[in-house]
């Protein structure tokens, strides 16, 4: 082991793996039956993160706008798939992917480009060392907001069908009749990032700030970066959740202001 100066070697990691063994021991002792899954998850995290590091090193070594864009498209695709996978009731046809995919692409790319052009300003602007981690951090959070927002919308609209149809039957427009439902879905989608911002620094030290401090950055510098990231995430989550929920609501109604639950698949 090397003395603590912000670097980790393999022996350090091997020692920390003892904690996974400890957790597995708990599972065995109490018959929890999760030691297998724990082991697989631990191995997956090692393999995935090391692979990611390899890819990032390669990307950083070949700083090209095209390679950066290609990596971004792949990441957006995985995020869209994840949103699709988390839906209890999906829109029918291509919209099952489309609503979430379009929304996350719009929100995450707009906010990442904004960060690169404005506050971060790397040289060159597409430098993957900045673009890829920024996009990754934004995607992870926007994805959750969109998935929660869409799930809330579809569950609420099916539950409150009688009320929504009563409002339509009394001559309200689709946006007016769905107003309460939309507000509920948007609030639920955005509450996660609001809670993170409120609790940051008191209840927990955010992961990125922790990383920078461990890597030797002064805490104040790390705090400024963390604040920037939280703002980017909040903005992107707002844009992405609004876009996804509005697209889905537009799809769940039609131009004659009818509620179209036939465009929603059955509960899984």
């Amino acid at each position: 082991m090397t003395p603590g100066n912000g670097t980790l070697d393999w022996i350090d990691l091997a020692v920390s793996a003892l904690l996974i063994v400890l957790a597995g021991g708990v599972s065995l002792a109490w018959g929890l039956g999760i030691h297998r899954r724990l082991g697989v998850a631990a191995v997956r995290s090692v393999v995935q993160l090391l692979l990611l590091a390899l890819i990032l090193e390669w990307l950083f070594a070949h700083a090209s706008p095209w390679l950066t864009a290609g990596a971004a498209v792949l990441m957006l695709g995985f995020a869209a798939r994840e949103i699709f996978g988390r839906q209890d009731r999906r829109l029918t046809g291509g919209w099952a992917w489309g609503a979430g995919g379009l929304a996350i692409t719009l929100a995450a790319s707009a906010v990442t480009l904004f960060a690169l052009a404005g506050p971060v300003r790397p040289d060159p602007w597409y430098d993957p060392r900045y673009a890829i981690p920024l996009l990754g951090m934004i995607l992870g959070n926007v994805m959750t907001g969109i998935a929660v927002g869409l799930n809330t919308l579809t569950a609420t609209v099916a539950r409150d069908r009688a009320a929504v149809e009563a409002r339509l039957a009394l001559g309200e427009t689709r946006w007016s009749a769905l107003g309460d439902t939309l507000r509920h879905a948007l609030r639920t989608g955005l509450i996660g990032i609001i809670n993170s911002m409120s609790a940051a620094g008191i209840v927990f030290i955010p992961g990125m700030m922790t990383g920078q401090i461990l890597a030797g950055q002064p805490p104040e510098e790390a705090a400024r970066w963390q604040i920037l990231i939280l703002f980017l995430i909040a903005g992107a989550t707002a844009v992405g959740t609004v876009a996804a929920v509005m697209l889905a609501a537009w799809r769940l109604t039609d131009d004659r202001h009818r509620l179209r639950l036939d465009r929603l698949s059955d509960s899984r």
Partner: protein
């Protein structure tokens, strides 16, 4: 009698292709066994489900009107009503004195301030009719309007329907209550053998 609601070649699968007409001040009953499509027919006329065909109100084609305006003028009152705001009054429109008159007419004069969550199914049903009438529709599409009501409440609802008819409203009434159909309707259309045919009420 002047023609108010005209439905020609209405297509709404799985219903047969239908035509019907309702004059101003006329009550036409739609009867048939449960599941025959009475509700689907009323919903299609209100344009709440995808459907095809020529539907017009006093000569104005439905397609020429925005859907919200159409539904204000041709009001569908469901058998099971939905409510969305805290109190009964939050769901009402129009001048307060008319609302007070309508609430008194269904025997619920104090209901304006009541919380929706505590309404019984019978109260909901009467208030759903009041809710539609506060918007002064020209045609009422009533789906089993007295299904949850006792004799006295049924009588008050039928009196309100008669009053709407006297004011020139057209009514299309889906009902499986033979006596109610005889009391209210001038004509009866029955779903029989996959078609909607006129029978004697």
């Amino acid at each position: 009698m002047t023609l108010l609601l005209a439905v020609e070649g209405l297509r709404r699968p799985p219903l047969p292709v239908l035509s019907l007409a309702v004059a101003a001040g006329e009550c036409v009953a739609v009867t048939g066994p449960s599941g025959a499509g009475k509700s689907l027919l009323l919903r299609a006329i209100a344009d709440l489900d995808p459907n095809d065909g020529r539907v017009s109100l006093a000569g104005t084609d439905r397609a020429a009107l925005p859907a919200p305006e159409w539904r204000q003028r041709v009001a569908y009152v469901a058998a099971e009503s939905g409510w969305w705001a805290p109190t009964v009054a939050d769901h009402m429109a129009g001048p307060p004195d008319r609302l007070a008159t309508l609430l008194a007419a269904v025997g619920l004069p104090e209901a304006g301030g009541w919380p929706v969550a505590r309404l019984s199914s019978g109260e909901r049903q009467r208030l759903a009719l009041v809710r539609a009438l506060t918007r002064r529709p020209e045609v009422l599409l009533l789906d089993e309007p007295t299904a949850n009501l006792d004799a006295a409440a049924t009588e008050s609802v039928e009196a309100l329907v008669r009053q709407a008819l006297a004011e020139g409203c057209g009514v299309l009434l889906a009902s499986h209550d033979r006596n109610q159909v005889r009391r209210l309707a001038g004509r009866e259309l029955a779903f029989r053998d996959g078609a909607l045919t006129e029978v004697r009420p």
